[in-house]
Amino acid sequence: MIYADNAATTKMSESAIHTMTTLLNESWGNPSSLYLHGQKAKEVLEKAREEIAAVIGAQPREITFTSGGSEADNQAILSAAESGRLKGKRHIISTAFEHHAVLHTLNKLKKQGFDITLLDVHENGIILPSEVKEAIREDTCLVTIMYANNEIGTIQPIREIGAICRERNVLFHTDAVQAIGHIPVNVGEDNIDMLSSSAHKFHGPKGVGFLYSRKGIRLSNLIEGGAQERGKRAGTENVPGIGAMAAALKEANANMAENAAHMIQMRDKLIEGLRQIPHSALNGDEHQRLPGNVNFCFEGIEGESLLLLLDDKGIQASSGSACTSGSLDPSHVLLAIGRVHDVAHGSLRLSIGEDITQAEVDEIIRSVTEVVTYLRSFSPIWRDLMAGKKEFIL
């Protein structure tokens, strides 16, 4: 089996599993309790906070533990909006290809009277900092732009965007769910005010993540209750999950350079190999992309059937076709970079892991080529394209 869907979720690392099971067994006390068993759990929590903060260049008190990336995105955006509202600022800048945790939250704010500007992501899937600059207004209270796109893997010029926001005194949030643990992120150097992250994208457990918010930024609660997380996120803390998240992040960070070098090499071989399939195209910038992300469109076929046949061959991947999303529209990310519906349906995302081998890359290329050729052999669109009755798009 070749698991090539690491952007969806990752397998927990051995050290994360070990940390989590040890904590489940030994540190099950409530961190809010005053007796030793509770205080030991509290220590685990604070050590995890320090370790995570150190990895991204933050102060421990700037880290708020959440249930994952979506919660962190929601809290960051709603907090910035609340602060903006109090100052009469109701304009937010974002992009057309954000994760739905961001886009749907922005939609909610739009209904409450906020004005939302979604920046063009261009054909290569990269935001232009100059366009961020031009979009900022007197009443802009937040710029929220993802660090790296979850479907096409393109890495955004976060540092430049952050610098612009700082200069204009506008809050800057980034959804870094796909970036943390995979590429270097430093909230100080990158001029980031708020950042969302999720443990299960870097070999940690599901159901846990964190929000970084720079000292002095006022957070609004999504969950009211006890005084956990400095009163900003009520609910007894997920101690085993948080401890395992810190273990996974430390490990990912320690091996980052070595892992990335290997993955980039494998990614580029995959891209080269899949390019040999006629009438195919890589989605997103070829170089400014995550080490593990490969995303292609193949003309004349549909993504779900491609995925099912790859699964039969032991390869697990994902697609931005409508059929895999349960809606009639293909991926909003592919549409945002200008792919038309016809070819956006025939997309394939391979997100490889650190342990991918050359033999597996060869097998993926062979299998994808075989399946695409097979599906085209009875595709009426492909027949029309080959007969010259229709123009090739790719």
């Binding site: 076929i301 059937s305 349906h345 595709s379 669109i381």
Partner: protein, 134 residues
């Protein structure tokens, strides 16, 4: 539980009657690339019996399986029977489809109906026009 029934996966993995009939006398194509499904049906009808049927489909697993099953259900049948084919019959023969995939069975029904209409039109034309083809 898997997304699809065993029947759907069987027809998806080993689709029956795939291909083209060069001398088809009824051809129907439905759907569009924008929505991600296109089905094309080819019929060879003699004495109002469907002697052969083939299909080409661009679409998801259930679209391919629905096309395959629809061809099986009408092959060797009189035209009058094929006209009564419903999407429900296709879906049932596949041991069901997920709700949001029912439109695939609708498309299969429409593709068959469209090919049958084409056949009827051609028949009427050749009967009316005799040997002259203008």
């Amino acid at each position: 539980m898997a997304l699809y029934s065993e029947k759907v996966m069987d027809h998806f993995r080993n689709p029956r009657n795939v291909g083209v009939i060069e001398d088809a006398n009824g051809i129907g194509e439905v759907g569009n690339a924008k929505c991600g499904d296109i089905m094309k049906m080819y019929l060879k009808i003699e004495d109002d019996i469907i002697r052969d049927v083939k299909f080409e489909t661009f679409g998801c697993g259930s679209a391919i399986a629905s096309s395959s099953m629809a061809t099986e259900l009408i092959k060797g049948k009189p035209v009058a029977d094929a006209m009564k084919l419903t999407n429900k019959a296709v879906a049932e023969a596949l041991d069901g489809l997920p709700d949001y995939k029912m439109h695939c069975s609708v498309l299969a029904e429409e593709a068959i109906q469209s090919a049958l209409e084409d056949y009827e039109k051609r028949k009427a034309r050749s009967a009316g026009a005799g040997s002259s083809n203008s």
